[in-house]
């Protein structure tokens, strides 16, 4: 399945487009999505920072999802670097 991942914060500096599309197996976990994004970053983003990805969370529009949870089918995802509001 294709998973759309919106980019926020420092990840916006990795490419002009605001999201990436990654191909994952059906039933993939968030950990698999993390691995796929890392592979994509290493392959395509000269300024990719793996340490930042390690400290970043994945989320749907409604909640943060942990690595052991499945990637919900048909739902857009987002990568959330450490937050700094206020």
């Amino acid at each position: 399945m294709d998973v759309h991942v919106k980019l926020f914060g420092a990840f916006r500096d990795c490419q002009p487009e605001p999201q990436v599309v990654l191909a994952l197996a059906e039933g993939a976990l968030v950990a698999d999505l993390r691995a796929a994004l890392e592979a994509h970053g290493r392959a395509h983003w000269p300024n990719f920072n793996p340490a930042l990805l390690a400290r970043s969370a994945f989320a749907s529009d409604t909640s943060v999802l942990r690595d052991a949870q499945p990637v919900p089918a048909g739902v857009g995802m987002a990568i959330l670097p450490p937050v700094s509001g206020g």
Partner: protein
């Protein structure tokens, strides 16, 4: 009855309104109102700042504001009104980044509720700031990782990193 007003204001379309926040949390039964106003300041880590851009995942942020408000509602036995507002986009020096107001029967709950909500928003909301410096450099702030599974209850504690923008006295 809407007891909580949760809002994201795109700076190109408007500004946060502290007077509206105070009005919203007012109630005949509430003798205490507190408000936190976070503004963009002109110095960060000793460097002159010209502005801050706030990036935000809006639907998740609003969902989080609702959870933060619901927790405060439980913690204060439902006797409060909250206004939670955050700006989005490129702000200049002095612009308002964040407005949180709490109305409660007495001052103690008002102070505590406002502080609790401010800390929860800062530590859990999907919001990212990028400081713009006089020399043309722009830097994303380090921030709080959401990977550790923090909930709003765990946020009113000290952190080993700096929450530098929109706070006085640093």
């Amino acid at each position: 009855m809407h007891r909580h007003h949760l809002t994201v204001v795109e700076i190109a379309e408007g500004k946060l309104d502290p007077a509206a926040a105070l009005e919203f949390v007012s109630d005949p039964g509430f003798g205490g109102i507190t408000m936190f106003v976070g503004r963009v300041r002109d110095l960060n880590h000793g460097r002159d700042v010209t502005g801050i851009s706030y990036d935000m995942f809006v639907p998740l942020a609003l969902n989080g504001f609702a959870e933060i408000a619901a927790k405060a509602e439980r913690d204060f036995d439902g006797k409060l009104k909250l206004f939670i507002g955050h700006a989005k986009g490129r702000l200049g020096i002095g612009d308002l980044a964040m407005v949180v107001a709490a109305g409660t029967p007495h001052r103690d709950e008002a102070f505590r509720a406002c502080r609790q909500v401010v800390e929860a928003v800062k530590h859990t909301s999907p919001i990212w700031k990028q400081e713009h410096y006089v020399d043309g450099d722009s830097v994303w702030s380090e921030g709080c990782s959401l990977c550790e599974g923090h909930d709003a209850a765990a946020q009113a504690h000290e952190h080993d990193h700096d929450h530098h923008a929109a706070e006085p006295g640093r």
